[in-house]
Symmetry: C2
Amino acid sequence: MDAVPGVTLKTGRAEYAYQGRDDVLLATLVDGTVAAGVLTQSATRSPEVDWCRGALQADQSARALWVNAGNSNAFTGSRGAQATRGIVQLLSDGLAVGEQQIYLASTGVIGVPLPQDKANAAVQAVLGSDAEATWQSAAAAIGTTDTFSKGASRSLETTDGPITITGIAKGSGMIAPDMATMLAFVFTDAKIAQKDLQAALRVAADNSFNAITVDSDTSTSDTLLVFATQQGPSPDLAAFTDALTAVCHDLALQVVRDGEGAQKLIEVRVGGAVSDASAKTVALAIANSPLVKTAIAGEDANWGRVVMAVGKAGEPAERDKLSIAFGGIAVAQNGVCVEGYDEAPVAAHLAGSEIFLDVDLGLGAGLAVVWTCDLTHGYISINADYRS
Amino acid sequence: MDAVPGVTLKTGRAEYAYQGRDDVLLATLVDGTVAAGVLTQSATRSPEVDWCRGALQADQSARALWVNAGNSNAFTGSRGAQATRGIVQLLSDGLAVGEQQIYLASTGVIGVPLPQDKANAAVQAVLGSDAEATWQSAAAAIGTTDTFSKGASRSLETTDGPITITGIAKGSGMIAPDMATMLAFVFTDAKIAQKDLQAALRVAADNSFNAITVDSDTSTSDTLLVFATQQGPSPDLAAFTDALTAVCHDLALQVVRDGEGAQKLIEVRVGGAVSDASAKTVALAIANSPLVKTAIAGEDANWGRVVMAVGKAGEPAERDKLSIAFGGIAVAQNGVCVEGYDEAPVAAHLAGSEIFLDVDLGLGAGLAVVWTCDLTHGYISINADYRS
């Protein structure tokens, strides 16, 4: 991952849930940094999400990001909100920045108030330390059930030199739009106005985190924030949007690849729908179907379950116009299995780790692509005893 | 199960997918029998579903029901429709009844045309046999991945003597509203008009099969039919509706209990919603959440995941008015964990096989109850290699 001018990283240990590993992150941001964000729509969102939403509305300048791993602080009432506020005050005093220039995120178990003593001790320790963290160790510090750290960088050339965009993210369960990852933070040195940054992020989110699903479960903490330190050149907005989308897309696919128990990344492409929105609903119905996901886990070209998922989506679809392909190999066309269908090449595709599933509804020009993973014994093992 | 006057059962072997067991059912119905039905809304429904819908619209009298197990005949184009038609013609000729007095259902793999030679041979063999089947063996003949046969009876007293209502059903994956079971057939000797029978069935379905979910996947073949032979007394409609609902509810819970891999039956009761419809949406979001279902499989009182599911449902909910109880024991009230929460009695409840989960949204008088099962390794094992 490429460093971003104007961003300083430090990690520390609060030991909310994990022992012997760093579990908090502080990113300090140079004066002049602006923030944009896309936050969970959950009706039971965490106080951290409420805090970030308030900060984005009040003052889009940003000087610090603090992340807790192991405790989401969601559904903890006034005690949770108090813990959030305590961290903000300590950071505001310690860094001599405004409270609403501080962004917060927490991830982990729901319903247990963040232990304020541990949080405060960790904030003081990190503020008092001079040791900077690498981007790799920052990505590691925010993880929970993640099996690998998630990061991505892109460089955008301009006539005034390169712009860097680097992001880190963590998954890997409770993943579905909107949002689709639990936490993702992107940093760039681009000189860009806040409203342009927010517009670019909206596009990037819709084509990345809002197009992935692991288990249809939307977190109460889902947070995507982008910070622009203004230390580099000013980009063309379209080119910047593309590069930001590329970083978000890379991170989002890493989250899906690390979906709890996942062994295969599945790209579901639905075409021929009456609209793009209709295509996305159908694609998500397929991507969220336990029967489709278990069939792919079993490397079984069970396209009948794809038909079922199309049928239940509640969108316009006609049985006799539907076509399905796995790995580019037509399996069904116009509502029936293709003549002389040979399962061998399809089975070979399904034995791989990247599965491509194309569905054509044959009705219009609507198109959508979403990404998911297979549903395996691993998901059950991880989630049947995550908290206990 | 109690026999129903006017109904004769026979089973036979087509061997579509299973060897060494009966896999077809013929129920012949006395002249004068009327039918009512609730059929899947799937856009990719089977030709059998289309046939039944047409028969119900054309002529609600019924003389026979034929059921195939092991092949759903869905998504099989004109060959599938032709197989359906072939069975109807053979039965119409053999029984000397009208084609539209014959009802059909098939269940099993999607996308493989029903082998017409096997179907026709089975119809001829069953028509030529004098051996009547028991209700128990009829229930067994329609099963696929079911681990036990499903049947239920109720007797309704009237001043003119008792009315019998007996139903059989099969599950047990691809179970979600609407419909919620793959196949269910109910028979009664009640003397009742077709429009009253249909009205009673609508109520019964909404409070039974349309309130259960195993995996959120709706089948292309879901069919609920009720046949009234008119051989018994005429019932009070309200009492009959209650008794029919009781039979359907009993069958629906048997389907959930036999949900693929299920070890626990879960009753999700949502109260305090802004409307009954809103309560049902929230209840289904909880009942379909893989994270809630795996937590219960792990006997973990992870109420945070219930909060998450409420939050993602998209219905009015306020974090700080939400209360949750497992087995009648309050876990969270008004948005926070209850004071002095003792997990031991909750853990004891979760160790049982019937789990009661109550959620109060604290907003209004809307109420809904749905039933589901836990999500276990068994579901993955069954579905990752069902077809192969």
